[in-house]
Symmetry: C2
Subunit: 434 residues, 2 copies
């Protein structure tokens, strides 16, 4: 299950592909049993895992990693508890596989079913956080997918300890889990794997924007993720100013380092004079650096915003501000400069709101609430695979459904197509049953 | 709307992107009106279109194109009638856009909706058949997508005449349709367009396997299509032999040139002695060339099948045959050599059938019926965009739904995330409304 750089990438992927065929046949009971076994193994072997993690952290400290990265690298009792809670909640989620999405009678005795299935083989590249290994392995096992994992080299000992516990746990439940979770260690190997679009069905990068961008550039396999989150809030002429101040403060300051935090504030010119000074005062209390266009700077003190600012995800206490003449100008700005992630309008005018919600081409469009709501947990998806700005397959916060696809199952009694062609042709009934 | 090689690919794509934003706002009434206008324009301007087509055909004849290609190139009254029928049926199909796929109350007054939307900008590359231009433009207009079309050079005059009629028709209904349908003429230009994964959301190739493969190799934009259809029928030990003969004959001979025709026949060893001679006799009557493995050739006369045969889509009256020891061996053969398109089992044993249906990793899996059923019309999808062997987004016969994605719409009353964090945190209700 743990492979070094010497192993051939194609062999690894072929093992995953074979495993994926076995996984497709496993019942939800067996898959849930495997999840429970992982939870048990992690608890039983926690000292071994914590020890491996301490060695990783020592090396990282010697290498001079930043405090932020060291914090992400840590896998301690708290991280373990979180992992166990998330596995337990995953076990209770309804089986995403084998759901009948549609059933149609094509003709008497000829029944078509569209049924959800695993995707197959998923490659996951994650940075630093070893807890991501547990989370993504669990999600893949729940959804019947085989997974190839590549973690950061700074977490190698922790990742190996976690992967080894997972391997023992799941193969103890059923030999069919052999190769269901494979960990690769070298960057070169993952590079080779990303070329195998005949064997790997989906790539999920978990980490920095740079990582996501680099992966997207280097593979033809579909990539689920977002390279950046340049989110906007537009405060309309008809906004309630108190509500607008509260929403914008939350969107910027509640957790500025994440992808769904606001990066650009757009304000209608007719409300700017009244709204901006109150907003700026609130932002000052949180030490937010403001960068405004000319119209903004006539109303409140701020640094000048450049064209570059409209395209920047700060992930920090910095905000660009622009005054616009209309909702249309706000929509155009967002569609042009945004990253199609999450954008909000604050207004009491329903017609304006509807126009905004219909026209902004983003995975989440919000009315009178904070952009920070856009995530899988808050959306009630049960488990979050990631947030996607893709326009195919899965968009926005993605739950387990994003790890599934479907197949068509057609069951007849000897039906042949010739009977439906030419004179005296039989007719299809196409009766929708589900 | 008609652009030459001089035009910059990025400009073309940007025009489509802008058009796509306008299309997203159009009502279904306006989109259906545009479809009706296209039908009218094609009827009114048919002589101009037929004349252009005659010139294309004359040139193609001079260039020595095969009869098959000449037939595909033809756009005459019959093709026009088919196009009009398909537009009229498309108008009657329910709007695929704006459908509420899910609605959840996250908390009091905070409502989340998942709503279907157009994908955005779709590039379509098709060969020979000018009727594909009409079909795909109509599908894109119905689903609110902007489309960039590249047809074969041998159909250039016909394509221009059709595109010009479509352009006049739709912009006559609403100026918002400007650039909704763009036709590019040069191969180089389409090559450049395929690099613009920031502006184009989906590529649909319509034509030969070689075309699909070439497109898949040359772009990072998601491609909807299948490069080959190596379909199998497995005749199980517990098959009704009369039914098996009838289904296999239909799957191979009813229309051998298409992707869902059977290319390989797998037979359980315990029924081979009885089944193969009857099957071979039936195939002889249709001049089907048989290529068998050793066990097959001990029972019926046939050429020897090579490893290459198992990987070959003949699209012709040729069939490879292999005797297998079990349903598991049949499943392994199909997952290994097939193209994950459409595969069937003939058996009266439900347990064996279920195993086959669950384990064969293909977009359509069939029990006791012919592989030829796998298409959008027979599946009752209303309109067929194509057949996909992808494992993400859309799989199998793809209807209008394959041209849609979704966005999340969250509507609050000033809700902020801070209220759901820390002590005295509000709780999410996550109440499923739809």
């Amino acid at each position: 299950m743990l492979w070094g750089a010497m192993d051939n990438a194609r062999e690894i992927a072929e093992r995953s592909r074979e495993a994926s065929y076995r996984l497709q046949r496993l019942s939800i009971e067996t898959r849930n049993k495997a999840l429970a076994a992982i939870a048990d193994a992690l608890s039983e072997r926690k000292e071994e895992i914590f020890a491996a993690n301490r060695l990783d952290i020592e090396s990282a400290q010697k290498a001079g990693l930043s405090q932020v990265l060291l914090k992400r690298l840590r896998f301690d009792q708290q991280k373990l508890d979180e992992a166990l809670r998330s596995i337990s909640s995953l076990i209770s989620i309804e089986d995403p596989i084998g759901r009948i999405l549609a059933r149609t009678e094509l003709d008497e005795g000829l029944i078509l079913e569209k049924v959800s299935t695993p995707i197959g083989v998923i490659a996951v590249i994650f940075e630093s956080r070893p807890d991501a290994l547990v989370q993504i392995s669990s999600l893949c096992i729940k959804s019947g997918n085989a997974v190839i994992l590549k973690g950061g080299s700074e977490a190698e000992r922790t990742n190996r300890a976690l992967a080894s516990a997972i391997y023992d746990a799941i193969t103890g439940v059923a030999r069919d889990f052999e190769n269901a979770v494979q960990l690769v260690s070298s960057r070169e190997e993952m590079g080779s794997l990303l070329q195998l679009d005949d064997l790997i069905d989906l790539v999920i990068p978990r980490g920095s924007n740079e990582l996501v961008r680099a992966i997207k550039e280097s593979t033809r396999i579909p990539v689920l993720g977002h390279a950046s989150g340049i989110c906007h809030t537009y405060v309309d002429r008809d906004a309630d100013i108190g509500m607008a101040v509260s929403i914008c403060y939350d969107a910027k300051c509640q957790y500025p380092a994440v992808c769904n935090a606001m990066e650009t504030l757009l304000v209608h010119q007719e409300i700017a004079q009244e709204f901006l000074p109150r907003m700026a005062e609130k932002f000052r209390s949180a030490n937010v650096e403001l960068r405004g266009d000319d119209a903004t700077r006539e109303i409140i003190p701020s640094k000048p915003a450049t064209e570059e600012d409209w395209r920047t995800e700060y992930n920090d206490l910095i905000l660009s501000i622009r005054v616009v003449a209309s909702v249309d100008e706000a929509i155009d700005h967002i569609n042009r400069y945004g990253s199609h992630h999450t954008d909000a309008i604050v207004t009491n005018n329903e017609a304006t709101a509807r126009k905004f919600l219909d026209s902004v081409d983003s995975s989440s469009v919000l009315w009178n609430c904070s952009t920070r709501f856009a995530d899988g947990y808050r959306y009630g998806l049960g488990a979050e695979v990631g947030i996607s700005t893709n326009k195919t397959h899965a968009r926005g916060p993605v739950g387990l459904e994003g790890l599934t696809i479907y197949k068509y199952r057609l069951i007849g009694r000897g039906h042949i197509v010739s009977d439906y062609i030419g004179e005296n042709a039989k007719r299809f009934t196409h009766r929708k049953l589900i």
